[in-house]
Symmetry: C2
Subunit: 291 residues, 2 copies
């Protein structure tokens, strides 16, 4: 298929590379120009989207999706009947509904397809897509999903992929907060963090989130895998979506304050795991990151 891929960040770049590797004809665009092996670099989203079967987005936020689609030199002019826009960014579910409506006005179709699986999952084509859209549209994207991921989970109609993604990252934020508070309390009461982490691993508290973060946390290594500013952005999206839907999220609101504190302290480019520093500081411990 002819695929236009816009957004070559930590996730987007290996995704585009995997599409090219799978034999698709890929044109790539990024705000700051980047090359992708096997793909053709172009200068604007409009140029990328021209004659493409599918336009795939993986950009940083809601505003960036709008810009790529409807901004200057945006893809909107190239949209036509039969074309599909797929968005793997994590953005507002409500804005997703609006973007989808505008795309459909041009005769094209729209699928929200945010991802989970980290940088390594993107590189190894092991991503999980949580998607919103029509079954028939999704079926047409099957070979592309397979080239980039290991699983596609349909969450419902348009925007439900984004809704699910927010609900997933909400859980990641609270699982990690529980770990940060638990390890801080245990440490202050005299338990070695290594012993607690070992214990977690053999109990029902075990999760992929802590399995992945704990080895870094034990070394106070907060080099970014999932940068704090991105998780903070997602938390704001969750609170915004919750507010619009009339949902109150007391746990998340509390965690949001910790992220605000961490951002103020200049931890935006560290991993979100660095929020542990804030909890340790509040316990009178010297939260010191290696970064």
């Amino acid at each position: 298929m002819k695929v236009a891929f816009c957004g070559l960040g930590i996730m987007g770049r290996p995704m585009a590379a995997n599409l090219a590797k799978a034999g698709h004809e890929v044109r790539v665009w990024n705000r700051t120009p980047k090359d992708v092996e096997g793909a053709t670099r172009v200068e604007t989203p409009a140029e990328a989207a021209k004659d493409a079967d599918v336009l795939w987005l993986c950009v940083s936020d809601t505003a960036a999706v709008e810009q790529v689609l409807f901004g200057q030199n945006g893809a909107a002019g190239a949209l036509r009947k039969g074309m599909i826009v797929a968005d793997s960014s994590t953005i507002s579910p409500k804005a997703t509904e609006q973007f989808a409506a505008r795309v459909r006005e041009k005769g094209a179709d729209y699928v929200d397809a945010p991802i989970t699986g980290s940088k390594i999952g993107a590189e190894n084509a092991q991503l999980i897509f949580m998607v919103g859209g029509e079954e028939t549209t999704l079926a047409k994207l099957d070979s592309l999903f397979k080239a980039m991921g290991k699983e596609v989970r349909r969450m419902g109609s348009t925007s439900k992929g984004q809704a699910a993604k927010l609900a997933m990252n909400l859980q990641i934020a609270l699982i990690y907060e529980g770990f940060a508070e638990g390890i801080t309390l245990a440490k202050k009461l005299g338990v070695a963090p290594e012993a607690l982490v070992g214990l977690i691993g053999v109990t029902m508290v075990k999760s992929g989130v802590v399995d992945y973060k704990a080895p870094f946390v034990l070394k106070h290594d907060y080099s970014p895998n999932f940068p704090l500013r991105l998780m903070h952005k997602d938390i704001k999206l969750m609170l915004e979506a919750a507010h619009e839907a009339g949902v109150k999220l007391p746990g998340l609101e509390t965690v949001a304050k910790i992220y605000e504190e961490a951002a103020k302290e200049g931890k935006n480019d560290q991993d979100y795991a660095a929020t542990l520093d804030i909890i340790e500081r509040m316990a009178g411990m010297a939260g010191k990151s290696a970064a």
Copy 2:
């Protein structure tokens, strides 16, 4: 070995039965008399502890441990050199230090050995013990641990088992809160709870906590496996221990308020999973439990 077992609740009763099954000579006592197959029922903790090698406790709270040990007809009079007191209740780490000191004054030894693994784990001798105490003392209890559990993790000296237990239940409370808030947000945004639960199962958000609770939650079945009042009691212990240690736990403090609300609404004898009702209520949804 001659074992006195005090406390025959959901966990204690199968634990005592497994000790008897393994060939130990077990005398059992409970506040409201209960029989255990293969064991001898006695009328007081003092009578249970007389001539015993080990006194094992599994009672409801700190006050109950004090009562069994040092109250009227308590075990204290029977304590002597060479005897070991092992406490599988979940109680205050600070009180544990004090109880251990008083037990040692009588020449006996003390181990805190709280458990995780649920009722089923207790029945199938698959418990995990997180213990505080001397290595040499723990070694003497080896055959008893093996009769009741699958794993013994030493967390440090006296009271460190209790400290670790609090840190573990703190994480359970926050993992579940994340699940409750995530599923409520997703539902309000139009995602089917079953689809979200399926998604969780294939991602890093997956945990034993949610694996275990989700099937019940999807049916709004809050019949108690871990009653809300017990988790609430543990949360108060965590906050008390945190306060004493100068640790601030913002996430847990927020969750504590939800448990207070749930307790006020008469949910004490439902499973702690019923806190989802409170989150759903706040979202204007009719949180309705089957109980």
